[in-house]
Symmetry: C2
Subunit: 472 residues, 2 copies
């Protein structure tokens, strides 16, 4: 593909995306293809000679598109959203075309500097403590996902707790990490990866709102210390994946301070709610956290991947992740006056992800972002009231933001069937969870183009499908 | 930005990139900005209201572009390349616009199925063993980087060596990993991350070609076993970062088989050379490797990030990385008939990266890719001969592919100054390494648009700059 063909094909892809976003509601939200259906249509061997772009694009439309689950549909209410926006997509396009590496400041200074700048902006935008600013002892960095942020936080916490000994001698089996039964599974995965061992992970029970019980956390830490173990990290959550529960950060933070245990706060989706000051109550206590992460790629209109990870004191993080081979040495790094983000993350290489985030913040403006977040929350809270007042349905958990967990009163099997019918129908896509052992449906509204009508229509469909199912 | 504005702005970005690639040689390859120069030009606070795209784009051009180091310049000879191509960029654009998650098969079947398919193609394209096919006991997956592949391989190796005990009980300090003194630093980082401890990492000495000495590896493994330790992983390299050395994989693989130690082969850049059958000699012994990774984002015209990671037996990898919370359960996964790539990688979320790789392979065709790789190698080998026959310069390591390490005979300080002058001049960008304690320059030609003339021109500039410096 030469440059002129790139122009022509590039315009075509831009047009296709514009049309796609406008017509996405005509596709089933959840792809209805069967395993092996797609591969059966693809040639078994790679082409010997180059092909023209229109041929590939036609295959994309004919063969692959039926296998797409439409995360950008306003009828996508599953999991957490992974939303995007036109400005973000153009940022990703520009980043791909520049193709720069941001592993070191010197390998593309603008990539590092814009990242530092935008992450400082976000401290202001979310009302986070000043210690997360790059001008303080801490700072922010873009990771690929909240999973990677959790792993990085865990490594920094271990580094601090063992004063670097684990890096030299290995993990000795006496380190203990704490989560709640509702914390994201990524922390469990991080514990496996880091060689801590799952028997050194304590899952603290939650209260009736699915929030971590600080009293049980305190008791467990004391018991572990008494047993000669070394408590080193607590992960608390603002907006759990299962039910959007908010752990009592002020109490947990106080315990962590007293016990000299690293506190990581995971606000992967719901951190975005803090854009609106009236929802910052959820971030109470954050001033005592050692690290914090939220994902603009979930609910802030920035396409995956874009997780913003902040630390209060970057020393432990850098010690845990720095390695300096000769071939990466350079004057700028050795001057100490620049940031080399490779030392803030798991991998070495990194894309210019700050570009899309910068475009998004400038495109929407702070007030534009606040407006969407407030709307999404208002629409889901309206829905939650409707569900709660319906005789056949019940809401199973508090609804602080834009996610509601609910079920039909006819039990697990009925709800399972209801979900399957709704998703097979293809008009909306919901997922499920279990709360107190009970199977329930989850509806999360955070897609960029979702409106009150989409949320209300989902509710109409849910009721209708439930009636049909009941009538069988 | 509404959809019509997206069309207009999208065309503008496409045009800008087309022009950028055509005119990239007019910029200094290595950005000449100073620390804090860029941030000083950016507003301290985020905008309250949304802005028009042209305003942002103008800031990109005025403020950020001077801070870009031009990895897509054909005069970029530093590090390893991170090249891209028009087809790849359109794949990334489409992926960003679709914004699908590939963490589970069900969350977008096409994303998983195309990835499996294209990685099977690559097994054929590189002449890799059939055990890396998805139809065998193994299979391939796209990771973000070779660092992540190394970490994943290490975790799978540990899982196999300890039969999963480390996942439960933690790392017990008796596991030992082996690399050469020339292996990429990412493996050292993986050892820290995994809690193995740096004292459990053995750096085996290399021979006069900077390749791992298999005899010393064997002796070290025996010594460690005799000391009651558990050797569990060797990482060998095809094309080291420093000098592009090729470790003796056949001998190393034989040792690993005998000792029941996991062999990971890192061919991050030079794996691409195996596209051409005449360079597959470098992959001799690969049939005995447990895992293998190479990066199309380095030398196969696919924009970062795209590392292809293959395992011979996926069982240990899946055991090391699987976690299944209720909210991710689904019928397709439980049927066992689909791949859920989240269990093959460190993070949970994942982009639709197979799209760009598929576009690249179809756009160039196998023969088109082979042609470029052969040319790059031929041009660098021609250059290496010229350097070797110049009275003032010497080549310091074998040149199997597209990277040459050389130095002026006037010593470390002279070469350091020479590199600084060349890079400050901005016409080309080289980096350095140390071989046998001697500072030397590295020139790697792998950028998509590099020609013989660019390589030859670099040599002219190097000689001229050296003469100038000598004359001072």
């Amino acid at each position: 593909m030469n440059t002129e063909e790139f122009r022509r094909n590039g315009y075509a892809v831009i047009d296709w995306l514009a049309n796609y976003w406008q017509t996405v509601e005509q596709y089933p939200v959840l792809s209805q293809v069967q395993p092996s259906e797609i591969r059966a249509q693809l040639p078994a061997h790679p082409p010997q000679n180059g092909e023209a772009f229109p041929a590939m694009f036609s295959d994309f439309e004919q063969v692959l598109l039926p296998g797409i689950t439409h995360w950008q549909s306003p009828n996508f209410f599953a999991y957490f959203p992974a939303n995007t926006s036109p400005a973000s997509v153009l940022g990703e396009l520009l980043s791909a075309g520049l193709g720069v590496q941001g592993m070191l400041w010197a390998t593309s200074p603008a990539c590092t500097d814009l990242e530092t700048h935008v992450l400082d902006w976000l401290v202001e935008m979310l009302g986070l403590p000043e210690k997360f600013l790059s001008s303080s002892s801490g700072g922010g960095v873009i990771h690929g996902s909240a999973s990677e942020a959790m792993l990085a936080a865990l490594l920094a916490a271990r580094e601090r707790a063992t004063q670097g000994v684990t890096n030299q001698l290995g993990t000795n089996g006496n380190l203990v990490a704490y989560i709640s039964t509702q914390t994201h599974s990524a922390l469990e995965k991080a514990v496996k990866i880091a060689g801590i061992g799952l028997q050194n992970l304590r899952k603290i029970e939650v209260d009736e709102h699915f929030a971590m019980r600080a009293d049980l956390l305190q008791a467990q830490i004391r018991a572990d210390r008494a047993a000669g173990l070394l408590p080193f990290m607590v992960t608390a959550t603002i907006g759990t994946t299962s039910s959007n529960a908010i752990d009592p950060i002020p109490q947990i933070a106080e315990i962590c301070q007293r016990e000299a245990v690293w506190l990581h706060v995971d606000a992967a989706m719901s951190g975005t709610a803090a854009l609106a000051p009236e929802f910052r109550y959820s971030h109470a206590g954050i001033a005592l956290a050692d690290s914090y992460a939220f994902n603009p790629h979930k609910w802030m209109f920035t396409n995956f991947d874009c997780d913003c990870f902040f630390v209060a004191d970057r020393t432990a993080l850098l010690k845990a992740l720095s390695i300096l081979p000769e071939y990466l040495r350079n004057q700028a790094s050795e001057s100490g006056s620049v940031i080399d983000y490779r030392d803030w993350q798991i991998p070495l290489g990194r894309r210019f992800r700050a570009l899309k985030l910068w475009f998004v913040i400038r495109d929407f403006g702070v007030s534009g972002l606040q407006k969407l977040v407030r709307q999404h929350i208002a629409w889901v809270q309206e829905l939650a009231q409707q569900i709660a007042s319906h005789p056949d349905f019940e809401v199973l958990a508090p609804v602080p933001f834009n996610l509601v967990c609910f079920r039909h009163r006819l039990g697990d099997e009925f709800n399972q069937k209801l979900l399957e019918r709704l998703n097979t129908n293809g008009k909306i896509y919901l997922t499920h969870t279990k709360l107190n052992g009970r199977y329930c449906l989850r509806l999360c509204a955070g897609q960029t183009n979702v409106t009150r009508e989409h949320v209300q229509h989902a509710w109409v469909l849910i009721q209708a499908e439930a009636q049909d199912l009941q009538a069988q």
